[in-house]
Symmetry: D2
Subunit: 194 residues, 4 copies
Amino acid sequence: MSKTPSDALSATLHNHLQQIIRENQQLAEKLDFDQVAAILPLLQQAKRVFVVGAGRTGLALKAAAMRLMHLGLTVFVVGETTTPAIGSGDVLLAGSGSGTTSSIVKAAEKAAAAGAQVVAISTTTSSPLAALATHVAVLPAAQKQDHGGEISAQYAGSLFEQSVLLLLDAIFQTLWGLDGTPAEELWKRHANLE
Amino acid sequence: MSKTPSDALSATLHNHLQQIIRENQQLAEKLDFDQVAAILPLLQQAKRVFVVGAGRTGLALKAAAMRLMHLGLTVFVVGETTTPAIGSGDVLLAGSGSGTTSSIVKAAEKAAAAGAQVVAISTTTSSPLAALATHVAVLPAAQKQDHGGEISAQYAGSLFEQSVLLLLDAIFQTLWGLDGTPAEELWKRHANLE
Amino acid sequence: MSKTPSDALSATLHNHLQQIIRENQQLAEKLDFDQVAAILPLLQQAKRVFVVGAGRTGLALKAAAMRLMHLGLTVFVVGETTTPAIGSGDVLLAGSGSGTTSSIVKAAEKAAAAGAQVVAISTTTSSPLAALATHVAVLPAAQKQDHGGEISAQYAGSLFEQSVLLLLDAIFQTLWGLDGTPAEELWKRHANLE
Amino acid sequence: MSKTPSDALSATLHNHLQQIIRENQQLAEKLDFDQVAAILPLLQQAKRVFVVGAGRTGLALKAAAMRLMHLGLTVFVVGETTTPAIGSGDVLLAGSGSGTTSSIVKAAEKAAAAGAQVVAISTTTSSPLAALATHVAVLPAAQKQDHGGEISAQYAGSLFEQSVLLLLDAIFQTLWGLDGTPAEELWKRHANLE
């Protein structure tokens, strides 16, 4: 019996999800985990952590910001209402695939000028953002305008954005393991007014 | 010489702005300042201040949250990324014209249950929000669906929303006067990464 | 009988609110309403309206964006999740007291390059923002770092931010009057999922 | 030669990232793709798509909202400034692991009452949210308070939140494939003022 259009749709969707997970798996195999792990003590020792990113990368950083707050760190998202001035002893965690997004580079410049450390998550160490960073963690994913599909079959920066979320969640899990606080204690820190 | 349509437009705009300011002036004359001033020690003594409001009222509360942060208070906006759990010793500053907005009433319930004090800014002391509040400051403006225009010729809750901003800015000015910190010191607390 | 500290607090708060309203009244007297009214046809004829502002000025513009949406215009806030690309036929309504805020000037540059018109609300016509604007409406309020208090006794840009809200609400009332749609019809356009 | 603490940290981080990807892979194997694929025609035929979710689930839905906007759909995020009223012909895409998050259930109730269709993404078909939904896509991940770790070793709802992002990106890739618009055309729709 021939497949219906609906069967074909399910199969295509299945294939796309498999491919997305496979791309993230392949990217993980290319990571320099020593380089990435160097972020952890910077976060642990930071007086306060500020996160910044544009578009979907910014959303991945916000997701990480929530988890770091649950872990007990003092965390702010650049651009939100009561985010204070950054200063010495603070860390700016900045995500940008290309490392050239103007608002992110500008924030990194200002953070560095204010005496904060800049930690970049990017696809490259050769960028204006990387030049300003104390430390760069490289996720060798496609950049937003690599429409050729050599590294990823996905649209624009999707692989980078997904991998930022997954990597930051792995960083959270690792920090949590070092910290040892029971899940129930973290749970009490979740926003309780929504 | 007869007026052009453009002259008429300028005159109408002028009249509307005059009327908006006059409505705010008339509302100020009706305020019970002893009742409103009772908010100040609650904010000063709060461990942390959380603000919540829907729509344009929420925007007025965010504007106030920024100023209170500049003054040195620890302030969070409900619903933003790293806003933590509210608890004992904290104050929830909740604005709602009607005092019935479901998400605001729900937040007030949860805040009270968590041991925080609820300070309401509303047009009435007879509402679910007011019933949950430790203290209510009444701004006798029209409510959102008073389309009759008895109190205000403006659309919906505009007068209430404007007066929330102006009153909270007056509260800020008063707290600042008590505090005495120079403007230059407050300025250093402004967000510096945007 | 001597006043209690609480009486004094009420009186101080009362004075501050009076002063805030008086400053807005005095500012309104200095406005060139022909210049401001020229914004109205630009908004009416715009394919889509985009608003942008930093900090409290941005909050005032968001409040205006809501009302313009209620009136039936297609309105987007720069930086929100599904705000599309601006282009020819669109208007960017940009607020900045100094006209120098880097993110706002950058947005105005990009908007102009994309073929959109830039309408600025500012304290001055001599600024990078004004240079990019098709039209500037001047609110002669103090700028953020005028700590001297010649124009306003309020902190930083508070008077400018308040006056942006009040003026844009006057613009809304004027556009609404021209439009003639009943309040009940506007009400149906309010967000109904919060 | 013994490993340094830094080597151990890298290895732990590596293991956590592998585990996160493996959990997402295992979850994908359990999906009913016919059930999930049924979302696609609902999105394609929607007059407008509204998305809603709390916390990190909400961030995953915002990331999807951006991509759907790039694809040419009319998409709004519940709670953002100019999001209009939902109505007949519209779809509310609501994400909640438990299907009990009160603000999400409330939004679904209101959407259904306004004549919109509710599409839920959840871990279960037995919930107040599922009861209101036209269609439920089940991601059999752990719920937020399953601290036991049977399904996922990750904290709280992390696996659910990650899988919402990856699945919605797979849905986007599938819709994009059906649509056939070149990447360069989608790129022109990206926000251009940030």
